[in-house]
Amino acid sequence: MSTIPQAVAIVQRCEALFEDLTFDSVKRWKAAAPGRKAIGYMPVYVPRELVHAAGMLPVGILGGGDQLEVIQGDAYYQSYICRIPRSTIELGLTGRLDCLDGMLFPSICDVIRNLSGMWQLLFKDKYVRYFDVPQNYEDEIGGKYYVHELEILRDDLGRLRGSPVTDAELNASIRVYNDNRAAIRELYAYRAQKPWQAPTSEVYLLLRAGMVLPPEEHTTVVRDYLAAVESLPRPKRDNARVVVNGTFCEQPPLALIKSIEMSGCYVVDDDFMLVTRWLLDDVPADGHPLEELSRAFLHRSASTAAKYDARREDKGQFLLKQVKTRGAEGVVFAAPSFCDPALLERPMLQDVLAKAGVPYTAFKYAENTGQMAPIREQAGTFADSIKLWSAT
């Protein structure tokens, strides 16, 4: 009887969680103790520490992927609007999200913003909040506003569970997420070092598991994977090292990620599920928790299209840093169709890359894109061109 290597078993478990559109793991978690609640959130970032500190499970909702047949959701959206809101509506209307006691809609774009109002109209018995974040990064201005927004969320969650969320609970949750972010940083560092050993199709599934598992358990899963995957015999190929950019909201199908890899690219950094590494380093867990979370957001957070660059010279620097620190040879811009943030940001990023001599390619996808051959050909041609250039 053959045994499955531990790393493979972990990935299989994560894949099962990823494919489960009925959120059974969330239901099991809630059923394990009376009174447990779960709060859904959409990309890009919400401070999950607050939900966790209230004793609730934060659940990342990333649309329906390529396995969900969208029937009702299409009746709510015009053809020129991206796919993630319609499949999310589908999840809601078909009862798949009944296990959630509330939903948070972060400030990312007009579509997700308006979806918060749709949720208010369609699911009146649920807690719904549009979670605004500051585009002003001064502590006394944007910070003050943000701390107040955090206080509102904290108070709301306290009311939902029946008792206020304390500073001690928040600091404990900050520690839990510091550990989780550290584990994700280790995972990303390892993949950048040995992308053949930790392929992105697996890293992606590990991240997706973090959308439904409690953070403590997820941290363990990531570290167990890292410990186990090293011993797997996996061949190193002469692939091009690339950063994937534009996938921060609507998700590409898993087959698309595999196609990029199969075409001869090693993905050494990306913007999948930025919530897992939005805050770039540890948040102090011994001070005023909301102010610390605010300072981390304002001064030590990732960059993406939904976030204003206060200075022209800041544009593209985060991406350029990803390229340089990960030793990438190019960038693959993969943006969802009709995604205003990603598609409006892209020409600026391309300009920055061009000036820095970093090659790039670009295509669009939808979460239910089925035809991978054109993407494989484009990514393969890009990988070949990088290899040819680097050989000269």
């Binding site: 959206y77 609007i81 979806l115 918060s116 003050k144 022209r312 409006l344 020409p347």
Partner: protein, 450 residues
């Protein structure tokens, strides 16, 4: 001073009725602004650019800026049939076919040099006042201009009314940005010191114009409506939503306009259309969503030829929501600017938008709701199909849905839109004659307009 220049004499068109005079005056104002922009370099004035929703015209005037509004430039180019080329130029320059055509029309125009919609010079702005009000794309728009042309940008982040109200924290945040970021930046770029009494004076003018604008828009509660609250209203809102709110000229324009409209009410007249007086008022509609600009007159004609008048529209509130009581307040100038920005229509959450439309249907005795869904504008469009269902459910009035675009001529299918409108008017008529108010409302399905 920016606003102190005397208004050019209005050139009278022969045989025009009073309404036409006001329209002519409005055009003079808009053209005057383009002339000021064209002469800005020669006269040593700095140029600002800002967006219609949340535009801080009174504040910008305090610093003597010549004021450009990129959305207005785009729509002017759309009405002049220039936007199609500009959009394609921008797409060739790397912009996606999926994104907002206002952005691409503006970027395409700038690629062609410093020439504006009227053919006169339109200098690149010295400052981009990024009023982040009700539209995420605004942020990317000015980032793109800043990236290409290096224009200095100052952000005014206006929080969204996610809970359907303006919380004190939101107002304080906007005021703090105004005090600590926006005003010091405008002072530095313009070289003009901020004078809050000057701001107060402009706001007193704003109040007068706002009062008269509301009277004009609410005149549509009469039967027949003396105005079209959508196609006509886009002319009425021009000065107050752009570079003239706070000027004595705008106050005068709205005073004259109000007088003319009140006279039409007394005479029992309907709206004036491009083809003259409108005939019998057969259908009274509420419209949600911006108009199409590239075929604006053809679009309007599809309504007035059928006797349909738009009695109120959400678009006429995009640059300021005055009909529920808000007025610029000279006694609390910065707080008032904050409330103005926070209260613009697209900064309202969907439940508030539904409430507002239902209220319009009731107060204006409308026959139904028409949604003109704009491909470019997710801020308006995302969620409109639910708005439609909710409004139908609450009011029992029929609703219809058409799709066009702002300034991309490729997305206006006249035959489809006309066909859909005719079906909708027929449905309203049948509903009336059959006494069908007890029946469940029917929805006209989405028109495939492209």
């Amino acid at each position: 001073m920016t606003a102190a220049a005397p208004m050019p004499a209005s050139v009278k068109k022969p045989q025009d009725v009073q309404k036409e005079d006001a329209m002519w005056l409005q055009k003079e104002l808009i053209n005057r602004n383009y002339r000021e922009l064209a002469e800005a370099r020669a006269t040593g004035r700095k140029v600002s650019a800002t967006f219609v929703p949340g535009n801080l015209n009174e504040l910008l005037m305090c610093f003597d800026f010549a004021r450009s509004l990129p959305e207005t430039n785009a729509l002017q180019n759309g009405m002049r049939k220039k936007s199609g080329k500009f959009i394609m130029d921008a797409e060739r320059d790397g912009q996606s076919e999926d994104v907002c055509t206002y952005v691409k029309a503006d970027l395409g125009m700038m690629l062609g040099g410093e020439t504006g919609p009227t053919g006169e010079a339109l200098p690149r702005p010295d400052v981009l006042l990024l009023s982040y009000t009700g539209c995420f794309t605004f942020m990317k728009w000015f980032e793109l201009i800043r990236h290409k042309y290096g224009c200095e940008t100052v952000m005014l982040h206006v929080p969204y009314q996610g809970e359907g109200k303006i919380a004190p924290n939101m107002r304080e945040y906007v005021v703090k940005q105004l005090k600590d970021n926006v005003i010091p930046t405008l002072e530095r770029i313009s070289g003009v010191k901020f004078d809050i009494d000057r701001l107060r004076q402009y706001m007193r003018e704003s109040q007068k114009a706002e009062e008269d604008l509301v009277a004009v828009l609410q005149s549509a509660k009469h039967r027949p409506s003396p105005i079209d609250g959508y196609f006509g209203a886009v002319y009425y809102i021009g000065p107050i939503f752009t570079a003239f709110r706070g000027t004595p000229e705008a106050s005068e324009y709205y005073r004259v306009l109000r007088g003319e409209i009140e006279e039409r009410v007394r005479q029992g007249k309907g709206p004036v259309t491009p083809d003259g007086e409108m005939g019998e008022e057969k259908y009274r509609l509420i419209v949600e969503g911006p108009p199409n600009w590239t075929s604006f007159r053809d679009f309007w004609k599809m309504f007035y030829e059928e006797g349909a008048v738009v009695v109120s529209s959400t678009y006429a509130k995009v640059g300021g929501l005055y009909d529920f009581g808000f007025r610029h307040d000279p006694d609390h100038p910065l707080e008032s600017l904050a409330d103005y920005c926070l209260g613009c229509y697209t900064n309202l959450n969907l439940p508030s938008r539904v409430d507002m439309i239902c209220r319009y249907i009731d107060e204006y005795q409308a026959d139904g709701l028409l949604i003109n869904s704009i491909k470019s504008c997710n801020s308006f469009s995302a969620g409109q199909l639910l708005i439609l269902r909710e409004v139908e459910r609450r009011t029992g009035k029929p609703a219809a849905f058409i799709e066009t675009d702002l300034v991309d001529p490729r997305y206006f299918s006249a035959a489809n839109v006309k066909n859909r409108l005719e079906s909708y008017f027929q449905m309203i008529k049948q509903k009336r004659t059959a006494g069908a108010d007890r029946e469940a409302p029917r929805t006209i399905p989405i028109a495939a307009s492209h």
